[in-house]
């Protein structure tokens, strides 16, 4: 069985993906016995991440990196790639949010928006949005049949599912 580690941009992303992975397992989209750990990247552009990667290769077969591209996928990909040691012994998959992780929610809720996704989140919750609300919001999306189905058609979600199950 292939063990997977997901690295996310921040602590909110950790909770976000924990909830999604649990749901995928409950739905049978992902094997329940599959080991999938989720951690926050220890600082952007930090050499610590590079060193940790050397340790991860011992334990995991696949690393998934999810970070915000803030509108520049190519640049973000190049930056993140720098932290992966040469001849790295396990597969690394980059799932880069076009802007921010909140775009997953806005897609699921079918909300048109301009600007940064996080700045549009008040439309979703009807009050001031704070990042710490993200886990609760994704939990509610997954509880709502239509929204969950729509989320599953989001290309980043498909990339995640593909990375987790392939």
């Amino acid at each position: 069985m292939e063990d997977i580690k997901i690295y996310t941009e921040d602590s909110y992303g950790v909770s976000f993906f924990k909830i999604i992975v649990t749901e995928l397992k409950n739905d049978g989209d992902l094997n329940k016995s599959k080991r999938c750990e989720i951690k926050r990247i220890p600082g952007k552009c930090s050499s610590k991440f590079t060193r940790i990667m050397k340790l991860e290769v011992i334990e995991y077969e696949k690393i998934i990196i999810n970070v915000d591209a803030d509108g520049d996928i190519k640049k973000t990909y190049e930056e993140e790639k720098k932290h992966i040691p040469k001849n790295f012994g396990c597969k690394v998959i980059y799932i880069l949010n076009e802007n921010e992780i909140e775009e997953w929610i806005l897609y699921a809720k079918n909300i048109d928006y301009e600007g940064k996704p996080s700045e549009n989140m008040s439309k979703v919750i009807g009050r001031k949005y704070e990042k710490n609300m993200l886990p609760k919001i994704i939990e509610n999306v997954l509880k709502t049949h239509n929204e969950k189905n729509r989320l599953k058609t989001y290309k980043k979600f498909e990339e995640l599912l593909d990375a987790l199950s392939s």
Binding site: S11, C45, S46, S47, K48, E130, N132
Partner: protein, 480 residues
């Protein structure tokens, strides 16, 4: 309760300190996250204590304390080189954003405690074009560097003493409406527009209306209008120009308004900036003397909107802010720290106190305070500070009692809030997850003064770290 629009933001941008402990001549520009590192005795805690001292000064002007240096056992213990002849100066610069525009304002206070007697020597509030200043008993208002209002506090004191005589005599001299005059004289306190006096009055006023809902906009406008009134109208109306130089025995007033034209000040911004200083100091939270074991004890059920310096009232603040329930932000943090089903709640005791209870899940037996992990109380205190929307949160040795993952969570919380964080640390785990631009390295120079170093070329440092394959903490501690 004061409500602020979401658009209202205060950002402390700079602090400068003279003669406070090892901070002989120290200046610090602040960003969103500021992490002070350095060996023991380098002055990290002195920076934190300079903010405590500033807060204590304002507790003094608000009548909440009689001696701001009491906690240090005397002025000689906080002044540079233990030289009581030296004054201590603390100044801050901050930016106020009310949604429409941003203003830079600055406040500076110079104090002494020579001979054990605390005294404000000078204080200045300054923003573009206008400056309020009090210097050893004289008050000045400057517009574009010209004095437009001045008075002696001693005159004001004498004025108060002979107020009844003035009320009796003055209307006869200048044929003024007695009621108008009476109103002005009744409000004579506000004629003292020295910044520290205004802060004291604001504190008194806000304490008396704490059960009334009001907005920052409203208070700022009232404040600006009052000062505008004093400068523009009050003195001109009461004291005709030709009366100003009358003999003091006959007419014990020596106040003047030298501008008789409309002064082109943006009064709205002025009021907002002045009030923002009060708000900044009042809401500033300093978690330094935290006794986490004490916080576990049941707390009196009382209204408290901000956390004390010793953090003893965390549960009361939690109760006040959450109106009896746990704020969502704090509950979310607890879930992150423990597990999804984790719950904390405030429980009343039969004798009218409250304590915190922690359950790992609904079905499980709750942990009573002595069994609750200490780190949970620290997490709650920090998250509560963010709930209060404190513009500045200062935490000494932030890493104590916290797991590295929780430190990272707290950093993320600060990055996504309107609060500025100023932390001291010895923890490599913290240093390694922040940007080099957020690090301030403190050290003592050859004269024993605290000095600082900030990395200038951040990209160069990052490239160097990546090239060497070492972490930021390794880099700092090796070069120390």
């Amino acid at each position: 309760m004061i409500s602020a629009d979401d658009s209202f933001k205060i950002k402390l941008t700079k602090i400068y300190i003279e003669n406070f402990k090892s901070l002989h001549n120290f200046e610090l520009n602040l960003s969103k996250i500021n992490v002070l590192v350095g060996p023991n005795g380098s002055g990290k805690t002195n920076v934190v204590e300079s903010f405590i001292f500033l807060k204590e000064i304002f507790n003094y002007v608000s009548g909440k304390t009689v001696n701001p240096f009491f906690d240090w056992w005397g002025y000689d213990n906080i002044v540079w080189n233990n030289d009581e002849n030296l004054p201590i100066k603390i100044g801050i610069e901050y930016e106020v954003d009310n949604g429409d525009k941003k203003e830079i304002a600055c406040y500076e206070i110079t104090v002494t405690g020579k001979g054990g007697r605390f005294q404000i020597i000078k204080d200045i509030f300054k923003m573009k074009l206008i400056r309020l200043e009090s210097i050893q008993g004289e008050i000045y208002v400057y517009f574009d560097d010209h004095v437009i209002y001045s008075m002696k506090i001693s005159t004001l004191a004498r004025f108060k003493r002979v107020k009844n005589r003035v009320i009796r005599i003055l209307p006869k001299i200048i044929e003024i409406d007695e009621n108008v005059l009476y109103r002005v004289l009744e409000e004579d306190n506000i004629l003292d527009v020295s910044p520290n006096h205004i802060i004291g009055l604001l504190s008194y006023y806000l304490k008396n209306i704490e059960n009334v809902n009001t907005s920052i906009d409203h208070i700022s406008n009232e404040l600006a209008n009052e000062i505008k009134y004093i400068i523009h109208k009050k003195l001109d109306n009461i004291i005709p120009a030709n009366m100003i130089d009358l003999d003091e025995d006959t007419f014990p007033l020596k106040m003047r308004s030298r501008y008789d034209v409309e002064i082109p000040i943006d009064w709205k911004s002025f009021g907002m900036s002045l009030f923002s200083f009060y708000y900044l100091i009042d809401k500033m939270i300093i978690l330094k003397r935290m006794n986490l074991e004490n916080i576990k004890n049941p707390s009196r059920l009382e209204r408290a909107e901000t956390i004390n310096l010793d953090s003893s009232n965390v549960l009361s603040v939690l109760f006040t802010i959450g109106k009896g329930t746990i704020p969502e932000r704090i509950q979310n943090a607890v879930i992150y720290a423990f597990k999804k089903e984790s719950i904390i709640q405030l429980v009343p005791t039969t004798d009218g106190r409250i304590y915190l209870e922690f359950k790992e899940s609904i079905s499980k037996k709750p942990f009573k305070p002595p069994s609750i992990p200490t780190g949970l109380f620290k997490l709650i205190s920090i998250e509560l500070s963010l709930c209060i929307a404190s513009p500045l949160i200062i935490i000494d040795e932030i890493e104590n009692s916290l797991h590295a993952q929780l430190i990272a969570y707290i950093l993320d919380e600060f990055r996504n809030s309107n609060s500025i964080g100023l932390f001291t640390t010895h923890s490599p785990a913290l240093i390694d997850i922040i940007d080099p631009s957020e690090i301030i390295i403190l050290y003592k120079n050859i004269e024993g003064e605290t000095d600082k170093q900030r990395y200038k070329d951040i990209e160069k440092i990052k490239n160097e770290l990546n090239k060497l394959g070492i972490t930021l903490s390794e880099y700092i501690y090796t070069k120390e």
